[in-house]
């Protein structure tokens, strides 16, 4: 994986010094809270209901064991012994003291980590496929391009006060595991007919209160024009994105209001101009970065079989493991969704254990997934059973990836000052309701996502089953959505009808599941059955 050179380290160290100075000016009263707010946000520091929350960037979700260990140590030293992995492949801490934050950032910088632009109206942490560099189905490892974009977007002087936040994802396979089309810019690395690698650009996707699927605006951007094209996309947005209403300020509204053709025309015009400005790093820079993402030294000639005689292990392999490109290897996902747990949470001890296991079993590399789980990308199949035993002993062996128990949930009203309703207790109750293994087996792939307000941090629009918490006359109320998907077949869920109370929503999910089990044909997933039948039978069961 990528290693900082002297320049990268200096940039992060400079940022720590800058932020320390900003905190000093805040604590001395030189800056009001109103003035300080945008500054702290660009360093990932939010003021939540009970305390400050600090969000630490995990660029494209990749981290090594030293970094993972530091995340555990920070949870112990500055928080309450927990960290919360997020849908942007980051980690956040919910009980932070303002005066500690410069020291936390300094600790992070010792392991090449930071909280730069994890919040605020700027280009956020760039996300990617959690199986990048390991998946059997990828065209190329997307992470070197994500790293090139990370450096370009870090402290980009023109784009630090955009109309609104800006999220970019980079993938490189047909199977979309990063919700690429639900980003402000989605980039898919592709190979053209001439065999060359380039970037396919999608713009104007997003969730929030107005969910939109990004249209493709450019089929192929050559690698030596990638940054220039991204800069053109951003400049058009910075100049013309709406600033009169923060709910209409995301690029999706601009693309929607202008129309894809007109937005694309403006980008192409800006792009043609910017090509004359010499802003593109040389291809040698991509090669330099790419060298850090070479395959680890996979052993040759390993056997591809697995002893699946232990039924619990077999289930975990079926649910949590993914095909690897190298014979004898496999990618394993650690579920942070135990029954009744808080989705995405891990204790400091669990984080440190994963750090050790990642070093021992996965070439010192781990990934955070947008579904709030952790991946060991490169595990020898011969070691998989030993790894699983150690995970299972630490309550990290839950076999439920992409099932109804693998719930994405935002922090909700338990922590977040924007939320209208709690998300965590609903996730806990649903996972308990469906805890029985036979139930999960029967339901198969069923992605359930919960947001505690319309900002949609819990991706409810993109859940096969989505739940949106709202406030109805002072009472928490939960709307149900069906039919969303964040995968290559991206779609937005539709609301079933009137909402439910906290217990009612759990019953409602069960009724929906029952309709599926009754109507399913052959190997259909829930989503397939819903798409075949439409809303009617589900509505009938819910409200009939």
């Amino acid at each position: 994986m990528y290693k900082y050179d002297q320049y990268d380290q200096q940039m992060v160290d400079t940022r720590v010094a800058e932020f320390r100075d900003q905190v000093r000016r805040r604590l001395s009263g030189e800056l009001t809270e109103e003035q300080f707010r945008p500054l702290r946000l660009q360093n990932g520091l939010y003021l939540q209901l009970h305390a400050y929350m600090l969000r630490v960037a995990v660029p494209y979700g990749t981290l090594n064991s030293e970094q993972m260990r530091m995340l555990g140590d920070i949870a112990d030293k500055y928080d309450r012994g927990y960290g919360h992995f997020t849908t942007r492949q980051n980690i956040q801490y919910n009980w932070i003291k303002l005066e500690d934050t410069p020291d936390i950032l300094a600790d992070l910088s010792t392991v090449e980590m930071h909280a730069i632009q994890t919040s605020g109206n700027c280009i956020r942490n760039i996300s990617s496929d959690q199986f990048a560099g390991a998946a059997a189905d990828e065209v190329i490892d997307p992470r070197p391009y994500a790293e090139l974009l990370r450096q370009w977007s870090s402290f980009h002087p023109e784009f630090l006060t955009l109309p609104r936040k800006f999220k970019i994802a980079v993938i490189a396979s047909e199977t979309d595991r990063a919700a690429m089309k639900l980003h402000d810019i989605g980039i898919k690395m592709v190979r053209n007919d001439a065999g060359e690698i380039g970037a396919q650009f999608y713009a104007g996707g997003g969730m929030g209160r107005t969910p939109m699927i990004a249209p493709m605006i450019r089929e192929f951007v050559p690698l030596d024009q990638l940054i220039t094209y991204a800069e053109a996309c951003l400049r058009v947005y910075n100049r013309y994105g709406r600033r009169d209403n923060k709910y209409k300020a995301r690029i999706k509204i601009l693309v929607h209001e202008l129309g894809k053709e007109e937005y694309t025309r403006q980008v192409e015009e800006e792009f043609a101009h910017l090509l004359t400005q010499g802003i593109e790093p040389p291809l040698a820079e991509l090669e330099r970065i790419g060298a850090y993402f070479q395959d680890p030294p996979f052993e040759i000639g390993l056997a591809d079989d697995l002893d699946l005689s232990d039924p619990d292990f077999r289930l975990w392999v079926e649910r949590n493991c993914h095909a690897h490109k190298a014979p004898g290897y496999i990618s394993a996902t650690v579920s942070l969704k135990p029954v009744g747990g808080i989705p995405g949470d891990a204790s400091a001890d669990q984080i440190r254990l994963m750090a050790d296991l990642g070093k021992e079993y996965s070439f010192d590399e781990m990934r955070v997934t947008h579904a709030q789980n952790i991946v060991f990308p490169h595990v020898r199949k011969a070691d998989l059973y030993a790894l699983w035993r150690k995970l299972d002993a630490a309550d990290l062996g839950t076999a439920n990836i992409d099932t109804v128990g693998d719930i994405i949930a935002c922090p909700g009203l338990d922590y977040c000052s924007l939320a209208n309703a709690r998300s965590i207790p609903v996730a806990q109750k649903i996972s308990e309701r469906f805890a029985a293994q036979e139930k999960q087996d029967a339901l198969g792939e069923m992605k359930l996502k919960i947001s505690g307000c319309i900002n949609a941090c819990g991706h409810h629009h993109a859940g096969h089953i989505g739940i949106l918490g709202v406030d109805r006359k002072g009472v928490e109320n939960y709307q149900l959505l069906l039919g969303g998907s964040e995968a290559a077949d991206t779609s937005l869920g539709q609301i079933t009808g009137p909402g439910f109370d906290e217990n009612g929503i759990v019953d409602a999910v069960e009724k929906v599941a029952d309709v599926y089990l009754r109507e399913k044909q052959g190997e259909e997933r829930f989503l397939d059955t819903y798409r075949r039948l439409g809303m009617a039978p589900f509505k009938e069961a819910l409200y009939g």
Binding site: T14, E30, Q35, Q151, F155, P157, E158, F159, L162, I279
Partner: protein, 143 residues
């Protein structure tokens, strides 16, 4: 008129009254123009040879359109003064300078020491923005 607190130019400061972008095309004797966030800086490109001062107004520092306005002008070859006016705060200074601003007239004067620290903050930069600084990728590859 608000005083220019920082200026990075050798030439004599121009203090002609600035007119709006709309008015500038008509007022053929005007030499100073003021860009508001919603203005299109490209409207000035036909008139660059008679502009000696461009003021870019920031009614709120969190509205970043002025950064693009400055770059549009510099990329078109404008070499005169670009002055940031309005809600100009310490934490913008180095970024404004990178986008082509070379004079700063904050509505509320800034602490000189903090401002100097902000201007000097970044020894290196990741992007090429036309301000003459070599980005890190150029240093890495000797280009």
């Amino acid at each position: 008129m608000v005083e220019v607190q920082f200026r990075f130019r050798e030439d004599e400061a121009v203090n002609d009254p600035a007119v709006t972008v709309d008015a500038f095309a008509e007022q053929t004797n005007a030499t100073a123009v003021r860009i508001e966030p919603g203005d299109d800086a490209r409207a000035l490109l036909p008139h660059l040879d008679r502009i000696a001062l461009v003021e870019v107004n920031f009614p709120a520092w969190t509205d970043g359109r002025g950064y693009s306005s400055a770059r549009v002008l510099r990329e078109a070859g404008y070499a005169g003064e670009i002055r940031a006016v309005g809600d100009v705060v310490i934490d913008m200074l180095s970024h404004l300078k990178r986008c082509g601003f070379d004079a700063f007239a904050p509505a509320h004067p800034l602490d000189p020491e903090d401002a100097q620290a902000a201007f000097d903050r970044w020894d290196n930069v990741y992007q090429a923005t036309g301000d003459g600084r070599k980005p890190i990728w150029a240093l890495r590859h000797g280009v």
